[in-house]
Symmetry: C2
Subunit: 64 residues, 2 copies
């Protein structure tokens, strides 16, 4: 399986916000994250960067 | 390996622009894509959405 962990970037580093993410879909003023178990989470963020071999998706907060 | 293929979204659908992408990094007014072979490509685009289990990264053109 090629899911990844989603991290929110901040001044202090990166905060894990969801593991085993499959889909990341724009929705309203943010993103809907869906993991491989079908769980969903909405975040007011955009996709910043990817490091797929490391299974990492980095998001940036839209409220900064 | 958990690389993905990068597609540019357009009105006509999606166009494959790079296979086996590992890193996607913001650079200047676009993105630098790096594949697992170390090849690099710059695109004037942003990351639109992800479908990681399907190994797909969707980019949106910034010039539209």
């Amino acid at each position: 399986m090629c899911e990844a962990n989603a991290y929110l970037l901040s001044d202090g580093g990166e905060t894990l916000i969801m593991e085993s993410v499959d889909d990341v879909i724009p929705e309203g003023d943010g993103l809907k994250l869906v993991n491989i178990f079908g769980e969903q989470k909405f975040v007011r963020a955009a996709i910043h960067s990817l490091s797929l071999v490391d299974h990492k998706v980095f998001l940036k907060d839209l409220e900064r």
